[in-house]
């Protein structure tokens, strides 16, 4: 029998030994069931069980639970133990409910009552037990129940140190579970902050964690902590390790406290006060110096603790991003770690360097290590370290080294671990597009990428290749040429066939004069792959064939033969059958001119954020997400992200339903589509997006959309559609008559808040005087933004319905963001501008709770549809959003920058907007604060 401390519960030890002696899983189960029956009987029959026995049985239940069995009784006995006046019985009771409790509500009240009794007791060890239990369970009800008691314990002068420590972390847990039900009195703020100065290092250590969380919620209220944190930090790093007795860990003074303080400071910009700032810089300098000193011990604990502080200091340096000497020193230090024999250090150095690469001050310094990093990619034995190396190469890539880095990554891709291939493919695709000087190079890389890692090329990647080719006239013939060559390979990845098929359909004519790639040869080459492909790819190829009919009338007969072939015309796949039928008919009945119009070359795609960046952000699924990590795509959200293989039948169907639902305003929903054909259906009907996905719906109409229904009652429906041209909006109003009689004497006007000094210049064409039953009329015009405005214009519509005059007034939801134009910039530029906008009224910061599930992509979409850019890779924290836009008014152009930082834990957002014109930031922030 091993060492049993206190020799408390013999019966428990015997039981554990029995379990361990069981020879088989079945025997173990038998023994457990026997014990469970025994305990159940004891609990039921023997009302006179004493505390000790209850404790013993509850402990056995706990043990059985920890073996992985479900426990569905004994809760009441455990709760009874809470009210025992014996410490050890209480303690086991608390342990049981902390570990097992999925409590029912009546039980909860009982528990809370017991906790309250203990918290109010005079005995600190009872208080601590209760606090620990609250911290372990941390339920909303507890936050409400103890909203006063626990903070009092924390700041009261009478509380002993260990209770203060528990109280601080207990509050922290409650704050995390339900920030809104825990209301901290602002009078306590100063006293909470001052815990940072507490003589007892344990109290300070516990308190920093709490303060860190409170700061995240309310940075302004807790601003005072910066000063205290810096001085505390400075006292620790400048003293000798011998000063801290037991708080020195392997010759490193108070590493836990140091790291927490350094993290606390990362919630704020660099201190404004020059003396605090220089004191902080000295601290950071000292930490960097200490890293150069010889080790005081060979134990890994010593170097780990020292480097833990160092890495956190580097994080702070990166966060402040203003002291170039510190940044470069940090980079050099990490460079040394890249060669260290400790895998952990190499891993962390690569990770930290990624962040340094994003800073303008240290980007160049990071690039010096390119070769070492490439070596790491080739020689590291640990896949997670190699992954970090890939991340760093991605981060340090710029125009000067892109060709080398992309080449190295491509080479590595051929042997890379399967787990990281998809991400690598995305990264290569992004880099080669971003830094392409010559788009031929880009295309070569992309085709090579598909060739060597076709299975890992996601849809977004090949969509993007096509978008780039469609948008760049100068590479289209080259694209056709290499796509054709790629198809000649004996084994061709299906993704390659898709890309090549699409490109030849559009631009095959550009290489048709070459005798090696005549129309017939192209057609036959493509068709030789046809039977190897999946139905979706075949559908795409059928579209290409159709386009061939237009490009090369001489092979029309051959294409028609294929379409007519049973395997297509009577295919069991509905999509293929439908396409074959429709295309065949189209080719038979249409004149060449009609065909030429229908099958016209694709217009350029609008420049948007590359879907690849979105995809890359998606790559790391959240814990609560389903294991596959695929977030379902929202219909409508993807409207023009790439060529679509929409299911024609369903598509038509949807459109039909929509027509009925929307009544007259069906045309409004087509705005999002910009002529991109949904493969087969576009010639017959304009494509239509499904009504926007729910997350984009906003109470503020038009905030994220360019078309919407802005008014509706039983008689009339009014819709709007806007198109933005810098400071001028082209506006179309749609008035739909929902009744069976005429609406007559129509009039419509827009009035401004201040007619004498208008912010908007409105120029609408006269409205038609009547609307037929169930019909719709359109009124077009322009609205020009003269200067930035806050008050919405009013729309006034009047008409007669069955000879009764009707008047409708409502605010026209034309928010100022409609005049924002996206601006792209790199991170240097972004931060340069950001720092320049530092006057008080140029910035507005809002902190607000999340109203919707905190989904990265949805946020990103909203920001994008708000009008400004969503720039990936600017913020060191990939969860944050940054972007920029230009607000066009006739009077001036106003630069707008924003940063949106989600805090998933607290379910809060912090939105910071800076604008070149004072006051505008506040207006924009107001528009957005309830939208996430």
């Amino acid at each position: 029998m091993p060492n049993i401390r206190g020799d408390a519960m013999r019966g428990l030890a015997v039981f554990i030994s029995d379990i361990r002696n069981c020879k088989s899983r079945e025997a173990e189960l038998r023994r457990i069931n026997k014990e469970l029956t025994n305990i159940r009987q004891r609990f039921r029959a023997d009302k006179t069980l004493d505390g000790y026995q209850k404790k013993k049985y509850v402990c056995k239940l706990l043990f059985i639970f920890l073996l992985g069995h479900d426990i569905d009784f004994g809760y009441m006995e455990a709760v009874n133990l809470l009210s025992s006046n014996k410490y050890t019985e209480k303690q086991i009771g608390y342990l049981f409910i902390s570990v097992i409790m999925n409590s029912s509500s009546e039980m909860k009240q009982l528990i809370i009552q017991n906790i309250r009794n203990d918290i109010q007791s005079r005995n600190p060890i009872f208080i601590n037990l209760a606090l620990q239990c609250v911290a372990n369970i941390g339920e909303r009800e507890m936050a409400t129940a103890f909203t006063n008691e626990i903070p009092r314990l924390l700041i009261s002068g009478d509380t002993i140190d260990p209770v203060k420590q528990s109280a601080a972390l207990c509050l922290l847990r409650l704050h995390r579970t339900s920030p809104d039900s825990l209301q901290l009195n602002t009078e306590w703020t100063a006293r909470i902050i001052h815990l940072l100065n507490d003589q007892h290092l344990g109290v300070a250590t516990a308190a920093v964690s709490l303060i860190d969380a409170l700061v995240k919620r309310n940075p302004d209220e807790y601003k005072g902590c910066v000063n205290l944190a810096v001085s505390r930090l400075s006292r620790i790093v400048t003293s000798s390790y011998t000063d801290f007795q037991d708080y020195t860990y392997y010759f490193v003074p108070a590493p836990w406290l140091c790291v927490k303080l350094l993290r606390l400071l990362q919630n704020y910009p660099p201190p404004d006060d020059p003396s605090i700032r220089s004191r902080l810089n000295e601290c950071l300098d000292t930490i960097l110096n200490k890293a150069q000193e010889p080790l005081k011990s060979k134990k890994v604990q010593h170097s780990n603790a020292r480097n833990a502080v160092l890495f956190e200091a580097i994080n702070l340096i990166i966060h402040m991003d203003c002291e170039s000497t510190l940044l470069v020193r940090a980079c050099n230090q990490l460079g040394q770690f890249l060669q260290n024999r400790e895998t952990n250090l190499r891993y962390l150095a690569l990770e930290s360097m990624c962040l340094l690469a994003a800073s303008e001050f240290s980007h160049e310094a990071v690039k010096k290590h390119q070769e070492t990093v490439i070596n790491a990619l080739k020689s590291e034995r640990d896949v997670s370290v190699r992954q970090r190396a890939v991340d760093l190469l991605y981060a340090m890539c710029d125009r000067s080294n892109a060709e080398d880095i992309v080449q190295e990554m491509l080479t590595y891709l051929e042997t890379a671990d399967y787990t990281i291939r998809e991400e690598m493919v995305l990264k290569i695709a992004i880099l080669s597009e971003k830094y392409a000087v010559d788009y031929k190079w880009y295309l070569d890389i992309m085709l090579k990428l598909i060739r060597i890692a076709g299975d890992f090329v996601s849809e977004e990647v090949w969509y993007r290749v096509i978008q780039v080719v469609v948008n760049r006239n100068d590479v289209q013939s080259y694209a056709a040429k290499i796509a054709f060559e790629a198809l000649q390979a004996p084994a061709c990845h299906e993704n390659m066939i898709k890309v090549a098929g699409y490109i030849l359909g559009e631009y095959g004519n550009l290489i048709a004069l070459d005798p090696r790639s005549t129309p017939m040869i192209q057609f036959e080459l493509l068709h030789s792959k046809y039977h190897l492909c999946s139905p979706t790819t075949r559908s795409l190829i059928l579209s290409t064939y159709m386009k061939f009919i237009n490009l090369f009338p001489e092979i029309k007969q051959h294409v028609q033969d294929i379409l007519r072939h049973d395997s297509n015309f009577r295919s069991s796949d509905v999509e293929i059958q439908q396409r074959a039928t429709e295309y065949l008919r189209l080719s038979e009945i249409c004149s060449p001119t009609v065909l030429a119009t229908v099958l016209e070359i694709m217009p350029p795609y609008p420049e948007k954020q590359s879907p690849l960046l979105v995809r890359l952000k998606q790559k790391k699924p959240l814990m609560e997400a389903e294991p596959s990590g695929e977030t379902p795509t929202t219909p409508g959200a993807h409207t023009d992200d790439g060529p679509k293989l929409a299911d024609t039948a369903i598509h038509l169907n949807q459109q039909h339903q929509q027509q009925q639902q929307n009544g007259l305003l069906v045309s409004l929903d087509t705005i999002e589509s910009n002529g991109h054909y949904n493969e087969s259906t576009s010639y017959s009907l304009p494509s239509s997006s499904v009504p926007s996905a729910a997350p984009l719906q906003s109470a503020k109409k038009l905030l994220f959309k360019n078309s919407d229904i802005i008014f509706e009652n039983d008689i009339i429906q009014i819709g709007i559609k806007v198109e933005i041209m810098k400071s001028i909006l082209r506006v179309e109003f749609y008035y739909g008559n929902k009744t069976n009689s005429n609406l007559t004497n129509m009039s419509s006007s827009i009035s401004l808040a201040d007619e004498l000094d208008p912010d908007l210049r409105i120029n609408m064409e006269p409205i038609k005087s009547s609307i037929d039953p169930k019909a719709q009329i359109k009124q077009a015009g322009t609205i020009e933004c003269i200067k930035d405005y806050g008050n919405l214009p009013k729309m006034n519509v009047a008409f007669f319905y069955s000879n009764v005059p009707q008047k409708i007034d409502f605010p026209l939801p034309l928010y100022i963001n409609k005049f924002i134009e996206k601006a792209e910039m790199d991170s240097n530029n972004y931060f340069l501008r950001w720092r320049n906008l530092d006057k008080p009224d140029q910035e507005c910061q809002k902190i607000f709770p999340a109203k919707f599930p905190m989904n990265h992509n949805e946020c990103s979409q909203k920001l994008d549809s708000f009008g400004w850019s969503d720039l990936a890779g600017i913020d060191v924290n990939a969860d944050n959003f940054c972007g920029a836009g230009i607000l066009h008014t006739t009077a001036q152009q106003i630069g707008c920058l924003y940063r949106l930082e989600p805090n998933k834990q607290a379910k809060m957002y912090r939105l910071t907007i800076r604008t070149s014109k004072g006051g505008v930031a506040a207006r924009l922030a107001e528009l957005l604060e309830d939208q996430f």
Binding site: R5, T205, S209, W256, T343
Partner: protein
């Protein structure tokens, strides 16, 4: 912030679990199963860190036991390693060269030590002396209460 701590044997048997966020039993079991498999499949020379879902996992093996902590993205990995080490030191000091069996037979003590050292997923007290003092104080009370019980029994003539 620490999300959870798992102690498990080389054979993949879970010895101790401590969760600092609310999870259903089902998801606890699932996470445990997946994570144990992930850690056990790692080779010795690999780093002690593991990207796992949106968390970072830091682990270290002591004799037959793996100590494994899941922390958030912005937590400090090296310090988490030392948090593990400090806990091991506490166990070692308390039990006197701790072994797996000590933790099995005294699992409640292992929990009590956790609660003195880490609370709500954050370090509460890093001083080894302070933590051990708190635990020893508990043991003293336990002894006293046992004494009481014995003397009551003796009074009744039952001992």
């Amino acid at each position: 912030m620490l999300q959870f701590i798992l102690l498990f044997s080389r054979q993949g048997k879970l010895r101790l679990q401590k969760w600092y966020t609310t999870q259903t039993d089902k998801s606890k079991k699932k996470i445990t199963r997946e994570l144990i498999a992930a850690v056990l499949s790692r080779k010795p020379k690999m780093s002690s860190f593991l990207e796992w879902k949106d968390l970072k996992v830091v682990y270290k093996r002591y004799a037959s036991l793996y100590f494994c902590c899941a922390v958030e993205q912005d937590d400090n990995e090296l310090l988490t390693l030392e948090t593990i080490h400090r806990y091991v030191e506490l166990l070692d000091k308390y039990f006197g060269s701790v072994c797996e069996l000590d933790i099995i037979f005294n699992f409640e003590k292992a929990y009590f030590i956790f609660d003195e050292f880490i609370l709500g997923g954050e370090i509460q007290e890093t001083s080894k002396k302070s933590v051990l003092k708190a635990i020893n104080d508990q043991d003293v009370i336990q002894e006293e209460e046992l004494e009481e019980k014995r003397s009551v029994l003796e009074d009744l003539g039952l001992a």
